[in-house]
Symmetry: C2
Subunit: 557 residues, 2 copies
């Protein structure tokens, strides 16, 4: 964890806002709001690692600036139940279990299921749209927003310094499946009253126009299913209740039953059904182990793995490593986006499925996915309805933040009031005036096996070197007086595999170098090991044109 700059003392009546994650990246969304000694947190998500961060399980927001202040935290508002907004909660609650979680019914149910795996039972406050709560110096009003998971909320924060409207993730589907619209009437009323700072989801700010309605997908799913003589497998996100609802509806229309597959899919849809967010007609769901006994044209398998995750159901089906076989006459639908960086994994699966004879339907060849985020056109509506004094785009890579800021400016937010900032930016609001006053260092906090924050960027650099070059280790025991080798050298190499015999070339060189060093007066084991490193390094660079990691160990006997 990076040490953050010491934050200055905050004047009474001033609101300090620090985005700790989600700016300049897609994931680990988190922001803190502090006034009069109390802190409010909005969201605490995880970021998934890139190919440059091999072996890392998750990346958490850097909470260094708040970790000694947890007693002052009045609560964590969770805008919705996606991993990039709630996934970091267990790691935060490990430090202090009784920080209250505030969110909608579904959001809290999902985070509670997650916390149960970490053996934490949280303090919660369930809220719904329109509800107002006072938490210390923060007056919170929750506003319904539409997203790719039900029950998402924006939060309007009123403090002595002024007001903030934070959208969470949202879009403005005008025909949502659950008829729960993004509440533009509330946005209008809040705008009328005066929103000082607007923090809006930037994910799709580069996309012109409007995000199509989720409802458009249903007929396509039904049509594809109706034309499939065999099995249908649909892969999508395991929390996308409305997408799963449409798959269930399309299955029922076509006289098919539905088997949910994948641990997170089964768990999340169980929660959604129990709470009434997912409507499953009696007798439609069937356990997938029983479903394999149904005729092929009577079943739809609804699975995880749409991003090519190697251990998920879809990958295993494609690799013939699952009891469900997919082939000629069967259809696989990837009803999902293609998250950048996953292309190779996803196309590997698509190719394997096609090779097995299946018909594969995906976003590129049919209308089986719509985004969960507001496009540029919708953002413009929001800015025009709310007319904020200041804007700080959140949730997205730098290019997304810049595009969102562009929309803010188009709508009339003054350029100097539009803040395109990075994680760790320190903003202050006083008397409804907002300015950027500083920047704290924000690092990556890696979850890796059982460790949190132990793995460093230097370790990841080592991993990348090991991946690209492999390593060579040389162990030897030398006679202290002469430098003569008495044990070894034992040479081991992995990942670049010269023949064993190749090592014979270098052994005399190592002996010669060690003897010369000892004769030259070198006695220290570390320095002798450096002699070996240089000798082996030169040889391997010249001979094999590679730069493996070299681990020399010389012990004096």
């Amino acid at each position: 964890m990076t040490t953050s700059t010491e934050l200055p003392k905050l004047a009474k009546g001033t609101l300090r806002i620090i985005p700790l994650g989600g700016l300049g990246e897609v994931g680990r969304n988190m922001a803190t709001f502090e006034i009069d000694g109390k802190i409010l947190i909005v969201d605490c998500g995880v970021l998934f690692p890139e190919e440059t961060q091999p072996g890392v399980d998750l990346i958490l927001p850097d909470i260094d600036s708040v970790k000694d202040r947890l007693d002052d935290v009045v609560g964590i508002v969770l805008t919705h139940g996606h991993e990039d907004h709630i996934g970091g909660v267990p790691y935060l609650l490990r430090l202090k279990r009784d920080i209250p979680l505030i969110g909608s019914e579904l959001t809290l149910a999902l985070v509670e299921a997650k916390l149960k795996e970490h053996r934490i039972k949280p303090f919660t406050l369930t809220v719904e749209e329109g509800q107002v709560e006072q938490l210390g110096p923060f007056r919170l009003e929750f506003v319904a927003v539409n997203h790719s998971i039900p029950d998402a909320l924006a939060v309007h924060i009123t403090t002595a310094a002024g007001t903030v409207l934070h959208t969470g993730d949202f879009k403005m589907d005008q025909l949502p499946l659950d008829d729960r619209l993004t509440d533009l009437r509330a946005f209008a009323r809040l705008g009328e009253e005066g929103v000082d700072l607007f923090m809006a989801d930037s994910t799709n700010a580069e996309v012109p126009g409007f995000t199509p309605t989720e409802r458009a997908i249903g007929p396509v799913l039904s049509d594809v299913i109706s034309k499939t003589p065999g099995k249908v497998v649909v892969a999508s996100f395991s929390s996308h209740v409305h997408r799963v609802q449409q798959v269930i509806d399309a299955a029922v229309e076509n006289g098919r039953r539905v088997a949910l597959m994948g641990r997170s899919m089964v768990r999340n849809m169980g929660i959604a059904e129990d709470l009434g967010y997912l409507d499953v007609p009696e007798g439609v769901l069937i356990d997938h182990r029983k479903a394999v006994n149904l005729p092929d044209d009577k079943i739809v398998f609804m699975s995880t793995g749409s991003q090519g995750e190697p251990m998920a159901v879809l990958s295993r089906i494609a690799a013939h490593n699952h009891q469900i076989e997919v082939g000629e006459g069967d259809t696989v639908i990837l009803a999902s986006s293609l998250i950048p960086g996953n292309e190779n994994s996803v196309f590997r699966i698509i190719n394997a499925l096609i090779k097995n004879g299946a018909n594969v339907v995906h976003k590129a060849n049919a209308n089986v996915h719509v985004s969960g985020h507001a496009s540029a056109g919708e953002l413009l509506y929001c800015y025009n309805i709310i007319e904020p004094e200041y804007a700080m785009p959140v949730h997205g890579e730098f290019r997304h933040l810049v595009a969102n800021a562009g929309i803010a400016k188009q709508s009339g937010v003054p350029a100097e009031n539009t803040f395109v900032v990075e994680n760790g930016a320190v903003l202050e609001m006083r008397d409804h005036q907002v300015r950027v006053v500083g920047q704290i260092d924000i690092g990556f906090v890696y979850v890796d096996g059982s460790t949190v924050g132990t793995i460093t960027d230097a370790d990841l650099k080592d991993r990348r070197i090991l991946a690209e070059e492999g390593f060579i280790s040389i162990f030897t025991v030398v006679e202290a007086a002469t430098g003569n080798i008495v044990v070894g050298p034992e040479i081991h190499a992995r990942g670049f595999a010269p023949e064993e015999a190749v090592f014979d070339d270098i052994i005399p060189g190592i002996q010669k170098a060690l003897k010369e060093a000892v004769e030259g007066g070198t006695r220290d084991q570390y320095q002798l090991s450096q002699v070996v490193r240089r000798t082996v390094g030169r040889w391997v660079n010249t001979k094999l044109k590679r730069k493996p990691m070299i681990i020399p160990v010389v012990i004096e006997a």
Copy 2:
């Protein structure tokens, strides 16, 4: 290299066709044609590694089936000068330098420049469209095709067994920049005479409709340049002569000079200009070291790095690691496709450039790229004009080959005459009848540092484990009689970085396990090292929830 199945003896008058690369992948295109003891090779390209093949420089076609027959090879036809068609030539010619290379003027000039770096001067035969050559039992007719590099050729092969038309890579731009159309008159004539087997580029077979003309990009480039107050940097492929031509033309229109940057860009455009494929008005080109002294609005930098390659010019500019600074008022144009797998690298650069203040124009926000490959509509034209008896789609992932085969069938090629096959498929043609008769094993041949074909898939698996988990090595010298440790254990770990002190936990365990093993009668050094492996493995899995590679070395003193 995988051992290939022994190929059966070939009956006189029968043509054997084996695609050795490029089927089920995008790259390392190569096919062999054999009749009456003589072999013709078409193309010999490289494949670029994926993220699952870390450290690999290049992947070559597996030439195991032909490497003992090089004396029988009458020549290598190179359809055009792209790396995925010519990049493997130096490695093949290292085995036998005097195999003749047959190709167009530009293609041969590019491969000769490449061979010069390998210190090989090849035997060449320059051909042009319409030309006919007899090489042993093969009558070759070359046909002009249009692609994203000038001077590309399809090749029509006539043998005693029948005829093959191989497109190489192509599209059918009807308004090409150099007015050199794909020669549909020749396709029509050859079809009229009877094409037995048609081998067509599948890359864009999934894309509906028609690939737009290269000419459409010119006005967009000029418009973007005209609106840029500062510097313009354009990144594209280093062999895309027509794209560079359009950049030069747009620069001239806007009163700017052009500096070429990147070793391959400078080399290839030098060749193209010398041979008259690139038309550069007097005084337009300027060395980039001098160009930095021009006013910003008088210069366009034309660079490599459009795929996010970390060492290329564009990456270095984005990282402030280049003498050219890009910021407010400047525009960077990525006039290129986004090859799947490169998304994260490319967007990392785009974000960095935007953060520096630059305007970034790319395929997703402006019409600055068109593909070099025929879309489904164009392929359908070809099949209809040629009316082949048989079709074997080439060049593409499995999904592309299947899409191409679908088009063949739509056009009337019988399904049983449409071969969707993988690398190593063995086809035979006799009396104009084609069938698939076998399959040889095809492996990946990795170029890695100075080695070719030495690195195995097992090594790559090791590299992936090292990348994800790191390693731990334990060296120790024990007393043979007692199992007492006399030197060590020396424990080293990289890539998962527990504190040094953590190792202290496990040292007593190692001593105990070794003593018990020796007391139990184990004497063998290998078996003792396995005792250490198990002990350390159990500990690290339980304690750290990781599975690093474990390298135990036990030596008996």
